[in-house]
C-alpha cells in the first residue's frame, strides 16, 4: 500500500462542519501545508482540536483568521493575540482543557477508552458539567474521549506505508491525534521506501495513517 498522494487528493476528505485535529505546539510540529490547503478549500464551521491557537497567522492561526472555525477545543490561546481580538464578534466557541487532560482525552479516543478519571481540575472551573467520582477518598473528574474526522499530522520521516518518525519537540500531539481520527493526513519532510525505517524506531505505526504528502 503506497499512501503517498497529492495535497488535492488528501483534501477531498475535508468538508464543512467536521472535526479536525491539528498537531503542533507553538507551531513546532504543525503541518503548515495541510493547514493552508484546508484554508484554500474554504471549508466552514469546523470544530478544531489543537493544543494552542498557533502564532498569529501561523498554524491554527491561519484557520482562525479565515473564520473557518465554529468551535475550538484547546489548552492555551495566549500566543495568538489575534485570537483574543476576535473575542466579542466572530470568535469561535472556545473550550479550554488542561493540557494533560487534552492529551489523555485524545489518546482515549484513539484507544477505545470510554472515559478516564483525572485529579486535574478538581475544585476548579474545569469541573463544570462533569461527573465527579470519589475513589479511596480522592476526588476525580470523569473526562470523556475526543475523536475527530481528520487529523493533520506533521512528521519528520514517513515511509510509504505510513510509519512515522518525529523529531525533537515537534512530536508533541502528532502521534496522539493520528490515533483518534477517521482519516489521517501526514505532511512529511522526508518520504522513504517501505522497509527503510527500522521497525524499532517507528514512533507511530502506519496502521494509523491514511495519506502522506511531501512537506
Amino acid at each position: 500500500m503506497n499512501k503517498v498522494t497529492t495535497l488535492e487528493n488528501a483534501m477531498k476528505r475535508v468538508t464543512d462542519g467536521m472535526t479536525i485535529m491539528l498537531g503542533g505546539f507553538a507551531n513546532v510540529g504543525t503541518p503548515e501545508l495541510l493547514v493552508e490547503a484546508v484554508v484554500a478549500k474554504g471549508v466552514k464551521d469546523l470544530t478544531v482540536v489543537c493544543l494552542d491557537a498557533g502564532l498569529p497567522g501561523k498554524g491554527a492561526g491561519k484557520l482562525i483568521n479565515a473564520r473557518a472555525i465554529k468551535k475550538y477545543i484547546t489548552s492555551h490561546v495566549g500566543l495568538n493575540p489575534e485570537f483574543s481580538r476576535q473575542k466579542c464578534s466572530e470568535q469561535p466557541e472556545t473550550v479550554l482543557v488542561p493540557q494533560g487532560t487534552l492529551a489523555e482525552r485524545i489518546r482515549a479516543g484513539g484507544a477505545g477508552i470510554g472515559g478516564f478519571l483525572t485529579p486535574t481540575g478538581v475544585g476548579t472551573l474545569v469541573e463544570e458539567g462533569k461527573q465527579k467520582l470519589t475513589l479511596n477518598g480522592k476526588d476525580y473528574l470523569l473526562e470523556l474521549p475526543l475523536k475527530g474526522d481528520v487529523a493533520l499530522v506533521k512528521a519528520y520521516r514517513a515511509d510509504k506505508a505510513g510509519n512515522l518518525v518525529f523529531r525533537k519537540s515537534a512530536r508533541n500531539f502528532n502521534p496522539l491525534i493520528a490515533t483518534a481520527c477517521e482519516y489521517v493526513i501526514v505532511e512529511a519532510e522526508q518520504i522513504e521506501d517501505v522497509g527503510v525505517i527500522d521497525p524499532d524506531q517507528v514512533m507511530l505505526s502506519g496502521v494509523f495513517v491514511d495519506a502522506i504528502i511531501q512537506g
Partner: protein, 220 residues
C-alpha cells in the same frame, strides 16, 4: 468431511473476506492458516498482540531471533514496513478499532453473536489473554471453527453455556459445514460446504438458522 480438508476450506474461505490493506489479527491454531490463502492482489498486515504490526513467516531453522516471537510463542519474522510498540499501544490498536478483521476459534458461539472461547470452568482456565479486547475492538470478528465439537455436538448454540468472552461480537461464522452471518434478525445461512444439504447443516446447528432461499455452495 476429512478434518484436514475442512480446515483448509475454512481458511481459504475466510481469506476471501479480506480487502487489500486490511489490518488483521489471527488467533492461534486454525486462524493462523488463513494467511496462507490470500487472494491474488490482496495484501494484508498482520497484528501480533505482543507488540507489532507486520508479522511475517516462521524463520528458517538457525535464523530465529530470541527477541522476536508471535503471540503464540513461536519464533517469528517481520515484513518490510513493520513497526514494534509496547503492549499499551498494541491494545490501543485493538480496542481503539484499528484492526479491520480478527479471526479466532471458539468453544461456543450463539445466535446473538455471543462468543465463549477462553474457559471451561474446572477444566481449562488459562486466562483470556487478549481475546476479550480483540473481539470487542476489531471492526469485524470472524469465527473459524469446526461445526461440531469432538463429541459431535453443535458449537453454534441458541445461547452460550460457557462463560462468555464477549457479548454480541461475532459477525461471521465459517465452519467446515457452512458460512453463517449474524444479522439483526439472527443467524443467516449464506453458504454450505460442497456435498451438504441445507437440512444437514440445520440439523447440526442448535441455533435457529435463517434460510432465505439463496444459499450458495462455499467456493474456495
Amino acid at each position: 468431511m476429512a478434518e484436514q480438508n475442512g480446515r483448509e476450506m475454512i481458511a481459504r474461505r475466510i481469506a476471501k473476506e479480506f480487502k487489500d490493506g486490511d489490518i488483521v489479527n489471527l488467533g492461534i491454531g486454525l486462524p493462523t492458516l488463513v494467511a496462507n490463502y490470500l487472494p491474488e492482489g490482496v495484501e494484508i498486515l498482520l497484528h501480533s498482540e505482543n507488540g507489532f504490526i507486520g508479522l511475517g513467516t516462521v524463520p528458517p531453522p538457525g535464523e530465529e531471533d530470541k527477541d522476536l516471537i508471535n503471540a503464540g510463542n513461536q519464533f517469528a519474522t517481520v515484513v518490510p514496513g513493520a513497526s514494534f510498540f509496547d503492549s499499551a499501544t498494541s491494545f490501543t490498536i485493538v480496542r481503539g478499532g484499528h484492526i479491520d478483521v480478527t479471526v479466532l476459534g471458539t468453544l461456543e458461539v450463539d445466535r446473538e453473536g455471543n462468543i465463549a472461547n477462553y474457559i471451561i470452568p474446572g477444566k481449562m482456565m488459562p486466562g483470556m489473554g487478549g481475546a476479550m479486547d480483540m473481539v470487542v475492538g476489531a471492526k469485524k470478528v470472524i469465527i473459524a471453527t469446526d461445526h461440531l465439537d469432538k463429541h459431535g455436538n453443535p458449537k453454534i448454540l441458541k445461547k452460550c453455556r460457557l462463560p462468555l468472552t464477549a457479548v454480541g461480537e461475532a459477525d461471521l461464522i465459517v465452519t467446515d459445514m457452512a458460512v453463517i452471518e449474524r444479522t439483526g434478525e439472527g443467524l443467516v445461512l449464506k453458504e454450505i460446504a460442497p456435498g451438504l444439504t441445507v437440512e444437514e447443516v440445520v440439523k447440526n446447528t442448535e441455533a435457529e438458522l435463517i434460510v432465505n432461499g439463496s444459499v450458495k455452495t462455499i467456493e474456495v
